[in-house]
Amino acid sequence: MKKAILYKEWIKTRYVFLAALVIALCFAGYAMLNINRLCTIKGVSHLWQIILLKDNTFIDIIKMIPLVIGAAIAIAQIYPEMVQKRLKLTLHLPYSESRMVLDMLCVGLLEIFVINAITFLSLALYLNSLIAIELVSRIMLTSLPWFINGFTAYLLVSAICFENSWKMRIPLILLAIGILYIPSMQDALEAYNGILWLLILISIACIMLSYHSIIRFKEGSQD
């Protein structure tokens, strides 16, 4: 049963996953080409100087990409379940309901992890060939909250999609905006180093919001 659920989720999301992977790599590639262009025109030393004196990460362009990808995968995975009213059927399968929801979410989270890991590692490896490890870690630590935000966005949008009533969906959307704004509050580099654990904790807590929406769905809450 578990394999069947995982396969069903993969079927639903595979095209969005592949498109998201290509988009993420395109943006990462653009950031790398931009750095390469600067190094070719002005020299590698100029890149170091700008990073050190202007606090420029050169990868700001990817800031919102994990968030958009997380939201897109959640919509691709959950929205059809709700529109085509398949969730009720899914919950009636001979399999633990809570386990079923967790398996569904894990598929999405795994896909986001793969995309984020490939993007993160490709950028880190490229930067490592040009600049000192201190600067690589400075830039990548600055970008970590953006990647964590991708997982949070996925879980929040999943909860919104699972929700059957607009009366509840709107407060959830407002809550999601508030939570997803946290990694944009401070522009300084490495500003979030001290609360990366909290961002991960919030992300994990957001799993419960999907359960909340599904419990309401089972109780028959609707507009």
């Binding site: 020299g43 590698v44 030393s45 170091w48 100087q49 990073i51 050190l52 004196l53 309901e97 809570s98 060939s129 040009l130 600049i131 000192a132 201190e134 600067l135 400075r138 509840m168 407060p171 809550l175 508030g178 939570i179 946290i182 990694p183 509050m185 401070q186 300084a188 580099l189 490495e190 500003a191 979030y192 180093n193 001290g194 609360i195 909290l198 919030i202 807590a205 957001c206 419960m208 919001l209 359960y211 909340h212 599904i214 419990i215 309401r216 089972k218 109780e219 809450s221």
Partner: protein
């Protein structure tokens, strides 16, 4: 799905909603109702030997006065602080030839009027662990773009060639050996320099070692130049100024501040009471005769006039604690606390309780009564909601009203 999951998911939803609202609502309130925070611009008059305050007001324009309560016009003020407004006086053709018996020129004033500003925001931040280093004795007249960076770790001082991203082992060994010879204890506690090639000369970096000892380190013809400055107490923070006579300013662990003098090669204590770089803003507007130092924090500010040569205190003024604006007083009756993720005093994003107000308890109790009235049919099940509303006030009441079930 079991009942526990339902309870847990509801608790998570409410907790996230309360946290988000306790940040968003106070932010929205202060954004919608901004309060003016006027702080006087203060200069020490080198001719009258007294502080001249210039205070901007949106209603009454600029009010200029001294501590005796005497008010001045803008023209009076220009004449009272001729060093700061020399350009203006020259334009009018009334610039003095001498001040306090010393012949002054525009060049003299420009070269001897240092302005320094140090903000806790720059101290309370994660800064890069590698530093650009200039060649202090370049072949050409102007400074050249740096080719290397350095880091100081437990093992010593390491130089990295930026073009190849490789370690320059020879230079690293030379600088490390020289630093060890001068008594440097690795790693560094604080490093401060200004690798800007637009300046005329380079004095390298001021570095405080792990024991709190101060060193000047620069690169001359690719070789190390290291100078040690003796200090009575272990030092904590250094700020390079590269003035003709003052290499930089340093603070010790007791928040005393010293000027690092170049000709005498020693630290001279500044005639200020204290300066904590982690919590206070330091602003100095100097002229050839006096430095006007303003140290400000959340509670107000202190002003010190220092002799520009000896750094001894000539005059001082302490501001009254600034009154709480009315909008904040109203806020303290609405919000029991405030969570903010950012602060003017640092560059970290971290949740912090900005204030806890007991004044809000009245509103909290009122909201709890409304809650109890609305959900009276639920009996004992309302108790957690009532308790939450009494503690978290409006931040809990709103989610309870929205997520009724």
């Amino acid at each position: 799905m079991n009942k526990n999951l339902k309870t847990a998911s509801s608790i998570v939803l409410f907790a996230l909603a309360i946290i988000t609202l306790s940040w968003f609502l106070p932010w929205l309130y202060s954004f919608a109702l901004p309060s003016t925070d006027s702080s006087a611009f203060v200069l020490f008059s080198p001719t009258q030997k007294k502080f001249i305050f210039s205070e901007m007001s949106k209603d009454n324009g600029t009010k200029i006065y001294d501590l005796d309560g005497k008010e001045y016009t803008i023209d009076d003020r220009d004449a009272l602080v001729p060093t700061f407004y020399y350009n203006q006086l020259m334009k009018k053709g009334i610039a003095p030839d001498t001040i306090n018996g010393v012949e002054v020129t525009m060049k003299l004033i420009r070269h001897n009027s240092p302005t320094m500003r140090y903000n806790p925001r720059d101290i309370n931040a994660i800064t890069p662990k590698v530093f650009l280093i200039l060649e202090s004795m370049p072949k050409r007249a102007s400074l050249e773009e740096p080719k290397e960076v350095f880091r100081i770790n437990d093992n010593g001082m390491e130089f990295i060639d930026m073009a190849t991203n490789t370690l320059n082992e020879k230079r690293s060994a030379e600088f490390t050996a020289m630093l060890k010879k001068k008594g440097f204890t690795f790693p560094a506690r604080n490093i401060n320099g200004n690798p800007d090639t637009r300046k005329s000369e380079d004095d390298g970096y001021l570095i405080i070692d792990n024991d709190g000892k101060l060193f000047q380190v620069k690169q001359q013809l690719g070789k190390p130049y290291v100078r040690k400055f003796e200090s009575k107490a272990p030092l904590k923070y250094c700020f390079i100024t590269e003035l003709p006579e003052v290499l930089g300013l340093v603070t010790d662990e007791n928040n005393k501040m010293y000027a690092v003098t170049l000709s005498e090669g020693k630290l001279k204590e500044l005639g200020i009471d204290s300066y904590n770089p982690e919590k206070e803003t330091f602003l100095n507007i100097g002229d050839p005769f006096f430095w006007t130092v303003k140290i400000s924090n959340d509670k107000g500010y202190r002003i010190f006039a220092l002799n520009a040569d000896t750094f001894e205190r000539v005059a001082e003024y302490k501001s009254e604690p600034s009154p709480t604006p009315d909008v904040f007083k109203v806020a303290s009756y609405i919000f029991p606390f405030e969570i903010s993720f950012t602060s003017y005093n640092d560059k970290f994003a971290t949740p912090r309780l900005d204030f806890i107000s007991w004044n809000a308890i009245y509103l909290n109790i009122l909201l709890a009564l409304i809650y109890a009235l609305i959900y009276r049919r639920k009996g004992k099940k309302t108790i957690p909601g009532i308790v939450c509303t009494i503690i978290f006030g409006i931040f809990a009441f709103i989610p309870f009203m929205i997520f009724k079930k």
